[in-house]
Symmetry: D2
Subunit: 336 residues, 4 copies
């Protein structure tokens, strides 16, 4: 028998993607999926792409969750801690929310407000040494969607001293599933199709975890809503540490950093990331250039915000926590 | 060691989807992928979503194909026969093109022109008795994309005598990958986004195989190009055989027809097919209603034109031909 | 000084399009725009594309409306009658809702329910004799969006006896603005992009006005939600009255019917309607074929659901009611 | 009689938009539209949205152009000079290509190569003093699409000393019409829908004119292809000149810079630009913030790449050159 697995917050986009991945996972048995207002509805009614999955959404009951081996929490920020507190140590937890990502309570207060719940192992296995730390943890806080797209591009540059830690500039665009499934007028199809618009300009909450994970000293971050359901493209730029840095040098550093990471693909020279190429997968695609006018180092990354940016990442962490091969049940190739 | 498998015409959309499915298939080993003008390029350069797949497109060489166990032909209409003729009987073939679908040479001549290559087992396992016939065949002609969407909706209605065989009316819309990857001005993103347009109105070549497979006597078929990469939604209507037919009766007939077909989902009452729900899967979703004004029976079906409409269907046939479980390596759930 | 004009229900999609058209209209002075929950907000905050339009949404006050010369009502079905009843005869009214379109109270009851408000002049000037009737009216009920797309294609066929009045089959797809601006989960961008889905299958309320306007005896009507913000493509098919009917005959009948209608374009042979070609315009594009298998006559029409399908049509009616040239202030060409 | 006007390169996207604008312009009479391979085709066949425009594309004949009063050149880079050289001084010319934009031949050589054709008045009337210079010119080089989006955001910041001239970072995304109408596989709808991808990273040719027009000393520029037909969103960031700069200060500087510019809208606080809000218009929308982490000044601008980014801008310049009101025939409001 497999590992008894529950998804809390299964009616949202990240929750739905978790259900899809778990339905195809050979070792994790989806035994419970819970929701709030949608409790009582069949999964296939809430998520039409899961037709054939014979499961009804339950209410979120800590006692029932305590009977499982693994719980994924896919809840709005601030709601994970209360549930996590009611689960015994025997249950491993991966939180897709922000509650336990940050070390510094001041940063939590600045971007999220309210009490800081605490700090769990940061769930980005591709960071140096982090794969082992995740594997050794029972509580993991998976990364934010923009965060993983940015960190994968940025961390090796800072670590290798290729760029200055000051004045990193990031512009990242996301498909609209990143904004969640709660109905809001500005997210209607008739609003977002054919449209690009920025939001939370210069004040996005993922900046805190990006700095924490990369060592960047200051970041200008501008998120943009893009007319597509899924995907993040992050353009990450930093001032070169010296004038000799070339794209080939940067590419080599990136390739070296991710040599043992099966989901991170540093593309061949001349090939740039496409978000669509990562659709439905747990992969990240990277490419780099040095700006011919300014000399800035530019790394562009693409992920699926619900894959490597949320549910895929969470399953990857769970695989490690359970001693499974990291790639178990996770697609490397996008659906294009 | 697995079954040595080749894809001919691997640079197109159906070919690319075959490569993706084969990369995740536990029993079929992708040993050869061939193309015409793109021969010599790495697969990941032609299909960015297949980053990490370490394979170079080869030229189409019958001698090399003859060394394999299974060949998928994903070629423009009219090009399959010449290659098939050069392959020994030891090689099983699934043709995704139209060359071998039709029984009647006159119908071939009417819609395609040129010499009729012959007739292979029609690769739609969900038709009555067809699963066994496919399993017993070494040469299978997979269905057309519009054809499968229409036939799945229509065949049980005709077979059960719920509708008259005369005067079936079908309007079906397809994502633009259905039009292929050859660059044409009218298929540019700036043309197709935000646009619906019909084409080949009243004269689409898939009518021939739909009639052959369903027994419909006459069909009005209008295809529409829709602003999405993948997916087909077919609205199939027929005149009711009598005034007592209700949606529940039709739904029961459909459910019965597909009770043993793992990829066909007759949705719960009140839930209508979404093409997006089938994206990347080999599933078909069906729902029905009886028009309150005209009494016409309406069945709407949704598939992924590259999944159940092409590559998925072809792999499903291959699974059967090889004695594998029908669902091996094929996603039931869409990526949404 | 121009004609004092008000828009009631100015925060919705049709209301916003009315504001846009009125802002560019040389004779109609937009003096009042009202809304319900959005009252008090600047127009440019609610409709970002109207940046520079210096107007604040007011509450809907019949006394203020009574001071104007012309009122457009762009309200949900069932809300127009109460306001219209409070306006003096000196105020001309164009209602974009369904309240006053139908003659037969039984049809109203069947599709909308509640009390039938009455019948105003049907606002489709392209129908035979209707231009004069609209011009002579002070109260006009503009057509439904699907209705105008279907009627323009269908009415001349029935009138000329080219098709049987029985068993017309229509499948029509609309951009999502047709579903309104109220936030609903199934209309979110992440749901509708990349997706086609039918709704109200075989039971759409516009069937009543289509039959009333065209004389069709029975219609099977299937609406489909398409992944684009605006536009309707209607595929209208009828059984041919005899076997001699050709596309050229049909095209000639259509061309003759609309010879004096500046907004209806019967396209040159070989050219099919594109919804995008009508985007932002008040035009309708038509083309025809006769199905080679069934002999069905097929006419496909494209409009902008907010243009000829709503706001444009309403302004066209107002122009006629005021004795202005029909085309005043209305774009013939789409923005593509 | 109006001003005899010709469009050279009328089959492309910018050419088509010129035709649309000219068809509605009260003073410019479109007498000639020329193309290369499409010569001989009716305009409405090439541009379906111009149904009803009774004009046939001609070959590009300098003798015929010499008979006109005004010529718009909408040609690939490098092709304008040869035609311009054959036109007499009596013909005013607006070139939408890059040939005459740059002052410094070295910059031309760096980004375009080949011989530098010369320098015409730069067609961005919103720059200080430029409105008068355009009005006094018979030869005007309209701006590049990315250039106008960037310059409008950037020029006032540099001029007012709000940011350092060094190390401006720009990420700008464009709809795919910006890539032109020549059929290329990577621009197919099935490729671009649902996808974001960067291109010409760190090496885009518009950097030269942006620096020339704004006085910026160095720019890192990353262009991104976005899944929409039209529109550019540019995120422009600069290091603040001092720590006291607030968004209100920046907004006031922008508002002041464009107080007399009818097409540039500095949005109200809290409202961010949407590309869709500018669709089909000649407007630019601007908003600003100061990044809370880095202190970088961020200005985001939105335009329609075919409107203010190409054809609209060109007509605006022509209006000025002819002594017409700047806004004649140009929409301020987008179609949304």
């Amino acid at each position: 028998m497999g590992i008894r697995t529950a998804v809390v917050g299964a009616s949202g986009y990240a929750g739905g993607e978790l259900l899809r991945l778990l339905a195809g996972h050979p070792d994790l048995d989806l035994v419970l999926a819970t929701a709030h207002s949608q409790a009582g509805r069949p999964v296939a009614g809430v998520h039409p792409h899961l037709a054939g999955l014979d499961l009804v959404l339950g209410a979120t009951d800590p006692a029932a969750l305590a009977e499982t081996d693994l719980v994924f929490l896919a809840l709005p920020h601030g709601e994970s801690a209360a549930i996590a507190a009611q689960l015994p140590d025997t249950v491993k937890i991966v939180d897709l929310g922000a509650d336990f990502r940050l070390i510094d309570p001041a940063q939590w207060g600045r971007y999220y407000g309210g009490e800081h719940a605490g700090t769990w192992t940061y769930g980005l296995p591709e960071l140096p040494g982090q794969r082992l730390r995740v594997a050794a943890s029972d509580r993991v806080a998976a990364t934010g969607c923009y965060a993983v797209a940015t960190i994968l591009a940025l961390a090796p540059l800072v670590a290798a001293g290729l760029i200055e830690a000051e004045d990193v500039v990031v512009v990242a665009a996301s498909g609209t599933s990143g904004a969640g499934k709660a109905p809001k007028a500005h997210l209607l199809g008739a609003e977002v199709m054919g449209d690009l618009t920025p939001y939370k300009v210069g004040a996005h909450q993922h900046v805190a975890e990006i700095k924490q994970a990369t060592g960047a000293a200051s970041i200008s971050f501008t998120p943009v809503l893009a007319p597509m359901p899924r995907g993040i493209l992050a353009t990450v730029t930093g001032r070169p540490a010296n004038a000799d840095i070339t794209a080939n040098v940067v590419r080599a550093v990136l390739a070296d950093a991710y040599a043992d990471s099966p989901f991170v693909h540093v593309l061949a020279e001349g090939q740039w990331p496409h978000t669509a190429a990562t659709f439905g997968s747990n992969s990240a695609h990277l490419q780099t250039a040095v700006d011919i006018d300014s000399g800035r180092v530019i790394v562009v990354s693409a992920i699926d915000n619900l894959g490597k940016g949320a549910a895929g990442q969470a399953v990857q962490c769970a695989n490690l926590m359970l001693g499974l091969p990291e790639t178990t049940g996770l697609p490397v190739h996008g659906v294009r």
